[in-house]
Point group: C2
Chain length 283, copies 2
């Protein structure tokens, strides 16, 4: 498989600034970085992304994937990120079909699940068939515990969203960004670079997305597009997220902290083990 060549551009993820607290005391605090990254596809400006900047090449690749500008990583020859000029240069193997037309329609999506969805993305969500996949309550608890223990920019600087991809309760990749749409796009890019094929997952070890953010329509759609049938969030769900999850038979689990959770849709994908909720020790 002919994977794209990616640079490995790095930049600091946090910055120290001075603040004044309620006691009138100066405090040196960490805040997350936020950079503008302008994406050029074959020398044509496509979009400017505001990002933490942790893994910009995966972000750009996943952005192109989730916007369906490219349907295979093999279509991309290289992605070259240069933080000096805030630019990501994408070189494709044979151009992007109808790029003008496809960037013409705009949808400003909800809040953190934001305006990166240009096109008629919602139009063919219905055609997605999700893989057989079932998670046990024990796996869910183990997964939430892995997130709890994860070192993060959030812990040091706050104000970022995290997404992670799990295989069963094994974390595959963990990404933070100032926008969680960026975090999920970065995971999509990572999946392509690592040849992850969610359709061949064994039913008992499903792929699961975790997000700290709300389960909006955009998050549900992106998850479904990547063939992930279970999404877990610390937050709640919006009406459109709920509706689409139900239509797709995607299992959306919210309010997942410690032993608590709410399964909003496709409960048949969650093997309940209520006895685990009652016990005092972590499973």
């Amino acid at each position: 498989m002919n994977l794209p060549h990616l640079t490995d551009a790095r930049a600091p993820l946090v910055r120290e600034v001075d603040a004044v607290d309620e006691h009138g005391q100066a405090q040196r605090v960490q805040i997350p970085a936020e950079r503008d990254l302008t994406v050029y596809v074959d020398k044509r400006e496509l979009v400017t992304l505001m990002t933490l900047g942790a893994r910009p090449e995966w972000l750009v690749l996943g952005y192109l994937r989730n916007q369906r500008f490219v349907t295979s990583p093999q279509h991309v020859e290289s992605i070259t990120v240069d933080w000096e000029v805030g630019a990501a240069a994408v070189k494709t193997r044979s151009g992007i079909d109808r790029i003008e037309e496809r960037t013409a329609r705009r949808v400003v999506t909800t809040g953190c699940g934001q305006g990166s969805v240009f096109g008629a993305l919602m139009d063919d969500v219905q055609s997605i068939a999700l893989p057989q996949a079932r998670l046990t309550q024990a796996q869910l608890y183990a997964l939430v515990n892995v997130i709890r223990l994860q070192e993060s920019t959030y812990k040091s600087a706050g104000s970022v969203h995290a997404c992670a991809l799990f295989h069963g309760s094994q974390m595959q990749v963990f990404v933070e960004d100032v926008g969680r749409h960026n975090a999920i796009d970065t995971i999509a890019g990572w999946m392509w670079m690592h040849g992850v094929d969610t359709t061949v997952a064994t039913p008992d070890t499903p792929y699961v997305f975790y997000t700290t953010g709300r389960l909006t329509s955009e998050m549900i759609i992106k998850s479904a597009q990547m063939g992930v049938a279970l999404v877990v969030s610390r937050s709640g769900i919006t009406q459109m997220g709920h509706q689409i999850a139900q239509q797709l038979g995607l299992c959306a689990i919210g309010r997942a902290t410690n032993k608590h959770f709410l399964c909003y849709s496709a409960p048949e994908r969650l093997l309940l083990q209520p006895e685990l909720a009652a016990s005092r020790l972590s499973p």
Copy 2:
């Protein structure tokens, strides 16, 4: 003053759905509504906004304002929202100048501060002169307390962001939305409809924005554009938000809960009263 004629379209803000909890028990829970509202300007499709739907007419007016498609409410003759078809029809008095060109450039901004900023918005932020305005720590505490007591969709259904405009510690308007960029746009629309002129505020009773969301570059810019020199958030700040706030001399206050806060920029706009932080009773 010739204000636009607005409809008063209403739709339910929450919806009840069934969920299953960790004990395997069915729970009836409330989730926030999320609707698509396609904005047509003089019969030309402009954008689709995903919104809670609390005050769609103010949202559309404020969106046009914050995107700088219109520079005065008098340029808009009417905004007609019809939830049956999910459409907002904007009729202008004399069209919008160069609308094609101005929607061509896209910036996908950070997370909750999302992709509704099309144009070269950042380019002339530097030219903004903010009004003289200073808040006391007592006013800040009173303001945070008003928010704490506010009835809200958040309390009943979660997963929404709130913004509010204060005059001193008096709340003028409180708006929730699934996207906080929508909430701040709705406030911008409200301000126009109610003739609020922030430039004539007395220095001791400043206008203040409150937001539950993070202080991203977009939130700081929008606040500055509306002439509001102080922004208060329950959350933190991102690097670009911080940078722009410093450049503008806009006072950005984060982590504001109970008596705690961090003032990240323009501390000269905050009259510190550290003795209030030490006392046990609310001011």
